[in-house]
Symmetry: C2
């Protein structure tokens, strides 16, 4: 049900002909209210796509009535012409769903540096407007796929209200958000001022800690739209928890479907002096190509973990570092611990635990192994 | 001739049995003077191998009489026992070449986290002491190879004096030095105080700008030994230039022999506000796995260059970025420029030029593409 699990929302997804494959490639999500409160988080990449620049401006009012999304082209690095294209998408969507352009967010994903085929996009928006339905969440989730092998959606229901969402993203997954588009909806009655911190808090410890390949996209967007259609004002903490649960579910689905990956790797850093230290160390480990290759080869090469830790500015003593791989403490006090032979890396899930022995803070980063298939997917054709 | 091209030096390389393959794996370089002035640069990784910690202490006096090097084991993350092993190597070498332990530098390379087979190492040092020769530079260069497919050496001769050197390194190549051991020798008469700035300046713009796979080693070491045997005190600027030339030659050989690479990529950043900005942008581009895959696939995917630039803190305007791939300006003003079809990526050498249009500073970073062979080499066995 994804974005239409919550009451007050219609969605649809159509094949507009942007993708050569003929697959669905254009989606709409429409909030019928009564509330149109919204919050958003965008890529921290300084090279930002035209739709990101546009949607940031839309969100300055804290209101979104509709979101138009397309796959098959990122509309990034397309200059002034691309900015006009994003505006035209918002204007035409506003006409189709009967609202004003500055309440229409725009999200695009696909190849950077090429213009969208605007005639097809515009016709697709018209067609999608006719296909909107309270059961359209799945069609929308399918339409935003790029190299995703499956569409991703998640729903959490609480007493009287629901948070649902959809996500896409399979490569260029890294902090400052993964390369991804996410639309979350809720029928809870929550103001834009309250949506914003709930979303930021959830994103900070979910999507922002997915680091599949260290590459940050130009188009990452996470939107949260509230319709208030349940008539329920939720407890702030319970609402934040529900948003976090949906984000975490979607983030894990992104890692599970990452391009070419054969392992899902959870890097947990404990004993850190600060959460920032834990995140820095976790990212450094998660981005180490040599370690990612070793794990692909099912080699518990903890020396590569220590090499990665050593490049950070985190507080630690090199002679007091402990590392466990799949719960076997192969490194104790910066040197060999339990036998590497005890580590079973044959499964798809791998856990790496780093104890910096320097404090009480911790963080988790999710990543993948590095495989020949990843190289193939990202060298065989443009994406 | 590598380290024995300069007068006053003996070297040798033997098979001590540290490597299971039976290949040469232990080398000595001995300075017979009259001078023993020396300088060194070490990894900036905070997790440092025992031999690095030892050699740093040796260099505090600015004197080195001998260097003992082994492949087949890094003696990194080996705790107090590893520190003792490094000391024993220095002590035994001192006995064999008739000097004192604190004038013996130690360099090790190979797998992290395992102790060296000290009985074989000690016997190897004895044997190598008997094999020292003024023609032994090549044997020494061969003995320090790990996954290198060829040994690397370089020589520059000026009026009356010479700078020569050897290097090893094929993976874990990244700043803070590549994973490499380098020994440079000269028969010029240069004091330790003058060697140090010449070496640091040369390393900063050569080895430190090699970034094959973004992974920083625990063992990187570059040593420069001066014998003074030519009796010539060179012009400081000419000497610095000669050291730079040898370092650049060796650095290029490292990139040419990087594990699994099919492309040698030179990233030149111009128009930067500062050299630091240029280096930051160059490194970000050189480390982008998606771009490295695209170049492997001979796809001039300039969008991935812009994505990488956007993650940096360098001064630039996203709408004033120009990018050339193999001299074709495929991106102008942050958007599509000349046709991608004009870019011929069929050769082994690739140049990427980024113009930040924000100043007069520049820098060059050398890297490789990301290939299935890299994944294979680094997943199929421990290294």
């Amino acid at each position: 049900m994804s974005v239409t699990a919550a009451r007050g929302f219609l969605a649809g997804g159509v094949a507009a002909g942007i993708k050569e494959s003929g697959d669905r490639d254009l989606a709409l999500v429409v909030n019928h209210g009564p509330s149109r409160a919204a919050a958003g988080v965008f890529t921290s990449n300084r090279v930002q796509a035209a739709p990101v620049r546009w949607s940031r401006r839309v969100l300055s009012d804290g209101r979104i009535t509709a979101v138009v999304l397309n796959s098959g082209g990122a509309n990034a690095c397309t200059g002034q012409a691309g900015a006009v294209d994003a505006l035209l998408m918002a204007e035409h969507t506003a006409r189709v769903v009967d609202t004003v352009p500055h309440e229409v967010a725009v999200c695009s994903t696909g190849l950077i540096g090429v213009r969208l085929p605007m005639d097809r996009v515009m016709a697709g928006i018209t067609a999608c407007g006719g296909a909107l339905s309270p059961e359209g969440g799945e069609d929308a989730a399918v339409a935003i796929k790029t190299t995703d092998s499956v569409h991703k959606s998640a729903v959490v229901t609480r007493a009287g209200w629901t948070v649902g969402g959809m996500a896409k993203g399979a490569g260029m997954l890294a902090p400052g958000l993964a390369t991804m588009l996410v639309v979350l909806t809720t029928d809870a009655d929550v103001s834009a001022d309250a949506l914003d911190p709930a979303l930021r808090t959830a994103v900070r410890t979910t999507f922002d800690r997915v680091d599949s390949d260290g590459c940050m996209s130009t188009n990452d967007t996470v939107l949260l739209l509230a319709s208030g259609a349940s008539g329920t004002v939720p407890d702030a903490e319970e609402f934040a928890e529900a948003v976090h649960a949906v984000c975490l579910d979607l983030a894990r689905q992104l890692i599970a479907d990452a391009e070419g990956a054969s392992k899902e790797i959870e890097v947990t850093v404990v004993g850190a002096a600060t959460e920032e230290d834990a995140v820095e160390v976790g990212r450094s480990v998660a981005r180490n190509n040599l370690l990612k290759c070793a794990l692909h080869g099912e080699d518990p090469n903890w020396g590569r973990v220590l090499s990665a830790i050593g490049t950070t500015s985190a507080v630690f003593d090199p002679d007091r570092l402990d590392v466990a791989i799949n719960d076997v403490w192969v490194c104790r006090n910066g040197a060999a611990g339990e036998s590497r032979d005890k580590v079973d890396l044959s499964g798809r899930s791998v856990t790496i635990t780093v104890d910096l022995c320097s404090g009480d803070s911790s963080a988790v980063i999710w990543t993948n192994d590095l495989t020949a298939e990843y190289v193939h997917e990202n060298s065989a054709y443009s994406s």
